[in-house]
């Protein structure tokens, strides 16, 4: 995907002023949050389950090489081919080579965020083949000139039904529909044709199961089930961190994944696919490939933010983030928005490319509280901020300001004098209202709100006065 993370502030500003987007965001706001809150109550020991989930994922990360080899061995034993890709480009090349080898013409694709990283659809089209996104949200974005997804599980969250209706009328050449039911029916008819004619099924992976060499896929639409049942070739493209040791441990994670994502106790379809089709089987892939992608993940593993690799892509941190909820996913400028995106994006595309992202958080802590695998997201965001300071990536005004403050704080006499002058100046600025409308140098803080002015004396002055009178 094209990187636009360096324009974060400008993009966020545009999105904040986009009335339609703000309306759409407000409409969807809280739906996921409310459903999740209800769904987790079904688990008698939600916190205990989160702890178990953290341990399952951490065990794999701590022994990732071992579990990757066990997975590879078991997948290969069932007739699948395991390929490795260091870069997104290499992953795409594997897909195109597979298509060439089996003379495939049309890919039908179930949702995959890893394929967004590598812009796989573009690579397939450039090679002269057809590709169709089958997740309804992804399909809507694909026919809108490949608009990027704005949410990792609800990619077209930012669009209203009116926008979808206009888009369908334009692209399908059909009369505009008004109801959501009718719109879904129209997409169903168009996509059914593609399901029946696609010869390459591409999916991501919710989990790779080491003990069996399987992929576990979770959808409500059933599109992953169709994409892995009908075409003669199935390619799984996914990150190396997606492994889970056993089916039982995947069950634990699934309880949290669906509840944290959409507030469901389970998705309508859970598919576990293992190897190629057996003798006498009518449906199922004759050839199965796994493309295990690194593309920055080993960098995360070697870094201070390693724990971010526990992520199971539920999107709860996005849904609960006050910043994401106000600016939407597009502002972040790459594949993964919200708190988890702000942690992993700098590792994938370079710290200097994504300076604003770890700062696009109030550190309110909600993301860390809801994360089903207990990734300490606020702490990891802070680690990025520290790294930015160490690597001199912060703006010079900020660096100079902090240096000045440090010097002053080390000289208590001068500090006292400066703050005494400061609070008096601020009191004057506040006027009779006692509110400062515009702060000099740091205007961003007062653009959308007033700062209550100090009453005239510093804490140290008041403290000293109190001691004298006591």
């Amino acid at each position: 995907m094209q990187i636009a993370t360096m324009y974060f502030k400008d993009r966020a500003q545009v999105k904040l002023n986009d009335e339609l987007l703000q309306y759409n965001l407000k409409k969807s706001k809280g739906k996921f949050v409310g459903k999740r809150a209800e769904a987790i109550r079904e688990l008698d020991d939600f916190e205990g389950t989160r702890t178990a989930a953290r341990e399952i994922r951490q065990r794999v990360l701590d022994n990732l090489d071992t579990y990757l080899e066990i997975f590879e061995q078991n997948a290969t034993a069932r007739g699948a081919t395991v390929l490795w890709a260091e870069t997104p480009e290499e992953a795409n090349r594997h897909v195109l080579d597979i298509a060439a080898k089996h003379q495939l013409k049309k890919a039908i694709k179930s949702k995959s965020m890893v394929s967004e990283e590598s812009a796989l659809d573009h690579a397939i089209e450039q090679a002269g083949l057809k590709v169709v996104e089958t997740d309804l949200g992804e399909y809507i974005l694909q026919i809108n000139d490949y608009e990027p997804p704005s949410h990792i599980i609800a990619p077209a969250l930012h669009k209203s039904k009116e926008e979808v209706s206009a888009l369908f009328a334009k692209v399908h050449g059909t009369p505009p529909k008004t109801g959501i039911q009718e719109l879904c029916g129209e997409a169903r008819a168009v996509l059914r044709e593609h399901y029946l004619t696609g010869d390459l099924g591409i999916s991501g992976a919710n989990f790779l199961i080491a003990e069996t060499g399987s992929v576990m896929l979770v959808t409500n639409e059933g599109n992953a089930t169709l994409c892995t049942t009908l075409p003669k070739v199935h390619v799984v493209i996914t990150g190396i961190e997606k492994i889970v040791p056993t089916l039982e441990e995947a069950s634990t994670l699934l309880r949290l994944l669906t509840r944290s994502a959409t507030g469901q106790s389970i998705t309508n379809y859970v598919d576990i696919l293992t190897g190629i089709k057996g003798a006498g089987e009518y449906h199922g892939a004759e050839h199965m490939y796994f493309i295990l992608v690194d593309s920055g993940r080993t960098r995360v593993l070697a870094s201070e933010v390693r724990e971010a690799l526990r992520c199971i892509r539920c999107g709860a941190c996005l849904n609960h983030c006050p910043v994401y909820q106000n600016i939407g996913g597009h502002s972040y400028g790459w594949v993964y928005p919200g708190p988890i995106g702000s942690v992993i994006t700098p590792m994938f595309i370079g710290q200097e490319m994504a300076v604003d992202l770890p700062n696009a958080s109030t550190l309110c802590g909600a993301c860390g509280v809801v994360c089903p695998v207990r990734i300490p997201l606020p702490e990891l965001l802070r680690k990025h901020r520290e790294a930015q300071v160490k690597e001199d990536l912060r703006p010079w005004v900020e660096r100079l300001g902090l240096k000045g403050w440090t010097w002053l704080a080390l000289h208590p006499g001068l500090y006292g004098l400066a703050t005494r002058i400061g609070v008096r100046l601020m009191k004057m600025m506040g006027g009779y209202e006692g509110r400062i409308h515009k702060l000099p140098l740091v205007g961003g803080w007062s653009d959308g709100r007033d700062l209550p002015a100090p009453t005239g004396k510093t804490f140290r002055e008041l403290y000293a006065a109190k001691r004298r009178s006591a």
Binding site: A52, D65, D135, L136, D271, I272, E281, H283
Partner: protein, 236 residues
């Protein structure tokens, strides 16, 4: 391992040079993983430990379920908008299917799995073609391996006599559930598969109600790509 990344010319022997790139990526990735973990090479002790861990099939915290799993299954299936009919004997299936299809106004034409070939369909006025479907049939008739009470889910295993398309392509899916095979949780389903089948079939498809989407304005609509209706016949 064949290397589709650089497929050899037809009939030509695969040269080591051509196979190299795929292995290079593998070696580099595993090398970087080991470096990040502070390891120098493959670690036989860790492998033994991982295999031992897998062999224990550890089960995490599960919500407590009532003794009456059937009742819980019925409640949860209804929540996910599966409809349910309970039958005493297998022979009642054709009439139950006819009754259900008449009720919803769907033509009584189904594609079914071979295990249903012996039932008296003609008497019930239902036409059942024993063959895989490509979606031309309004109804698909399958059995299930087991059912899960915790979520109201049915577990379908693919095989030569169990083509997956039957549960996916028709607008209506009718699944026959053996009433004695309702297990508590997904973990129990996996234990049962290992016990009875040894290994996983190509596909384990777990179905919890009709296909649905919430991708437009988070409004739930049934029948996204798969069936609009899932009807469960619990026998026994």
């Amino acid at each position: 391992m064949s290397a589709p990344a650089r497929p050899p010319e037809r009939g030509a022997k695969q040269s080591p040079e051509r196979a190299q790139p795929a292995n290079r990526a593998r070696d580099n990735i595993l090398g970087r993983v080991r470096q990040a973990l502070g390891k120098t090479g493959p670690d036989p002790t860790a492998r033994e430990a991982a295999l031992a861990h897998i062999a224990t099939h550890p089960i995490g915290p599960r919500p407590a379920l009532p003794a009456d799993l059937r009742q819980r299954f019925l409640e949860n299936a209804a929540k996910l908008e599966s409809s349910v009919d309970q039958l005493a004997r297998r022979e009642e299936i054709p009439r139950a299917v006819a009754r259900y299809l008449t009720g919803i106004g769907v033509p009584p034409r189904a594609s079914g799995w071979p295990e249903f070939a012996d039932l008296p369909w003609g008497e019930a006025g239902v036409e059942v073609a024993i063959r895989p479907t490509q979606g031309q049939d309004p109804v698909g008739l399958t059995s299930v391996f087991c059912a899960i009470a915790e979520t109201g889910t049915v577990v379908v295993l693919a095989g030569p006599e169990a083509p997956t398309g039957t549960l996916l392509l028709p607008d209506t899916h009718i699944a026959v559930v053996d009433g004695s095979r309702i297990v508590a949780s997904m973990e129990d389903a996996f234990v049962l598969i290992r016990k009875e089948r040894g290994s996983l079939p190509r596909a384990v498809n777990m179905v919890s109600g009709p296909s649905r989407t919430g991708d437009i304005e988070q409004t739930i609509v049934l029948g996204a790509h798969g069936p609009f209706r899932v009807h469960l016949l619990i026998v026994g």
